[in-house]
Amino acid sequence: MRRFGAAQLLMLAPAQALLIAFIAIPSLYVFWLSFTESSYGTGTLFVGLANYEAIWQDDAFWRALVNTLLVINVIVYGELLISFLLAAVFVQGIPFRAVVLAIILMPYAISEVVAVAIWKFMLDPQIGSIARTLAALGLPDFDWATNPTQGLILVCLISIWLHLPFTFIIIYAAMLAVPKELYEAAKIDGASAAQRFRYVTLPGIAGAVLVALIFRYILSFRLFSEVWLLTAGGPARMTEVLAVYLYKQAFTYASFGMGAATGWIMVVVSGLVAALYVWLLHRQGFRKDA
């Protein structure tokens, strides 16, 4: 059995020190800040739970929370579904696999700012190529700028397009790792294609899917650029998400206490979601391997 002593602790110390200096201490500072009223040019005043109370009573916060939960679920499961379909096609083997793979991965290399600017330009109702094509085909207008639902749909589309490669590559790699012998055995036993997917593929990639889900949930919770650059939360703050709400509190209104409180609420909510998936991951995969 390996011994875990002072030497090992010493070797771990630099990494631990970095984590404490750059994550733990700032987090605790922000936690303390969330109980204060603080702005530029003013002192810091302890106000207890007043910031959390103000957020609780703010309609804009609840709208942002609902928007965030709706959008991240559409994004995460949309990406998952498309990734499943694409990966299933890829594992069967397709012509020009490397080229098609590069095309699918390409959006991940594009800056979010550039991507949103391009989509916004293409969907401009007056001069946008997509908007004009829709009009030429006699299809209804896509009013993403003034219709909050359509605005959020566009946010989902852009986000899925940008981040699909991440989920796809994880699921594709997991599918490739499922032993071929299992499929052959299932085939010999008379399993249909659907049964092979249900009883061989799914259990084989479940761990990878959960990892992809955890990462995408946590990253999507911070969704900011797509909304900020596309609609800035408008019209009438109807497309605001939590990260935009936080930004406004902290940097537009210079209310650092409210911003800090919003940040901690985001940490707790995304932590709860992540905890659920980690528990599932533990139950389904890691516990067996332990």
């Binding site: 702005s39 530029y40 040019g41 003013t42 916004k120 401009d124 109702p125 007056q126 207008d141 009013d143 993403w144 700028a145 003034t146 596309l230 609609t231 800035a232 408008g234 019209p235 009438a236 703050r237 109807m238 406004k248 940097f251 537009t252 209104y253 210079a254």
Partner: protein, 432 residues
């Protein structure tokens, strides 16, 4: 082997430190005259001091002082965010910051240096020449904190080619004519371009507040009372709603930023809009506009009664230069501010496109000869009011206004309900 006692070591250390101590004032002196000074501003502030008919305004000063200027140019919110964050530190490399009037509130003044002592010691010539209203905005508890440097008085910009094409021989003059003009100027060109008669900056309050004032209303009056639920503001919201629903404004207007609006005007997609006078240079620029020389300026729309009394209904915001309290070279900062503010340099900057804060600049023959709109701008400046007075929570008030205004315009709420919501939500933010 040499044996060294603790006492010897201490003595040697002190001896070694002595020359360093002597050198310290030289080091401090070197720090007092750095080779470059950092300024936080908008791009336009740098431009008007360096490019155009007035030339490089600060070239002599830089040479005399042997320093270069590092301009950190940012967008409106980012300027103040960065300037205030730097000003909160124990010391900062920022020599001078440009601050907008809406941010000139007591909490801001606490981070900047009062200028009275500098003015006494090394005065800026004819300080009383600066617009008194602007100086007052940067005065707190009897102390002055900034030197006004630029204003942006709004005008009505209109596309003369479209006016002619649609059989209109003059721009609208009173608010009652707005809808009729905007409707006539809304049409589809033979090449398929949709022209909208009217545009506003839908992510800001200035244009709509100006409309509300023309209807006899306001957002926050000079007594710091929110009167957005009054008939004037409701009428402005009703007018906006009608114009939006009837296609007189671009469909995606709520997602259009200031630059998008400027491009739309230059491309001929919007026929009329409020913008500061100086923007006419951009609209008429042959390099970027499809209608060079075809844009005119007129006074912003007023009520019929106001126009009959020769009153001008316009809004203006303004900038001043401030010295951070934690700055390292405050004397240099003052010297720079003094140079920019001199009478001669005010004229030169104005010829580069700046809207001068000195009243006398508008009587200068060079300015009148070179800037076509100077006389009209001077007249507007005399009547201009800020669209919203400065107070600590003005950024939140602005957001509430924009939210309710957009909701009314898009038909999500009735104009009456939107006006009432503005008043109900903004009143608790106002100083008591």
């Amino acid at each position: 082997m040499i044996r060294t006692s603790r006492r010897q070591l201490l003595a040697a250390s002190l001896a070694a430190a002595a020359p360093t101590g002597l050198a310290a004032p030289r080091g401090a002196s070197a720090q007092a005259r750095p080779s470059s000074l950092t300024i936080i501003s908008h791009r336009v502030h740098q431009q008007v001091l360096s490019e155009g008919g007035g030339g490089d305004v600060l070239a002599d000063w830089r040479e005399r002082n042997g320093v270069s200027l590092e301009w950190v140019t940012l967008d409106l919110n980012a300027i103040h965010d960065r300037a205030f964050r730097e000003a909160r530190l124990s010391s900062s490399n920022i020599t001078m910051s440009y601050v907008l009037n809406t941010r000139a509130v007591p909490s801001t003044f606490a981070m900047f240096e009062p200028i009275d002592e500098y003015q006494q010691r090394d005065p800026i010539e004819e300080f009383e020449d600066f617009s008194p209203g602007m100086v007052r905005a940067y005065t707190h508890q009897g102390k002055r904190y900034g030197v006004p440097v630029r204003h942006s008085v709004n005008a009505l910009h209109y596309n003369e080619a479209y006016l002619q094409e649609r059989g209109l021989d003059r721009p609208p003059q009173v608010i009652d004519e707005l809808v009729e003009y905007a409707r006539k100027l809304t049409f589809t060109k033979p090449d398929g371009t949709q022209v909208h008669g009217w545009g506003i900056q839908a992510d800001n309050y200035s244009d709509v507040v100006s409309m509300a004032r023309a209807f006899g209303g306001d957002l926050i009056n000079e007594n710091m009372e929110c009167v957005a639920d009054g008939p004037g503001m409701v009428r402005a919201l009703e007018t906006l709603r009608e114009m939006y629903q009837d296609g007189m404004m671009p469909r995606n207007i709520t997602a259009m930023k200031q630059n998008d609006m400027i491009t739309a005007i230059q491309n001929g997609q919007v026929a009329m809009q409020y913008f500061p006078f100086g923007r006419t240079v951009l609209f008429n620029n042959p390099r970027s506009s499809r209608f060079p020389g075809k844009f005119g300026t007129a006074f912003c729309l007023n009520s019929r009664e106001g126009a009959a009394r020769d009153e001008i209904n316009t809004t203006a915001e303004f900038w001043c230069m401030m010295i951070p309290r934690n700055g390292r070279v405050k004397d240099m900062a003052w010297s720079l501010i003094k140079e920019i503010s001199s009478k001669e340099n005010t004229i030169r900057a104005a010829m580069n496109g700046n809207q001068p804060a000195r009243v006398s600049a508008y009587a200068d023959p060079r300015l009148l000869a070179n800037v076509s709109y100077a006389a009209k701008e001077a007249q507007s400046l005399r009547h201009a009011r800020v669209p919203m007075p400065a107070f600590d929570r003005s950024a939140q008030a602005k957001d509430i206004f924009v939210e309710e205004m957009q909701a009314a315009m898009l038909g999500m709420r009735s104009p009456q309900a939107a006006g009432a919501n503005m008043a109900r939500r903004i009143k608790p933010l106002l100083p008591r």
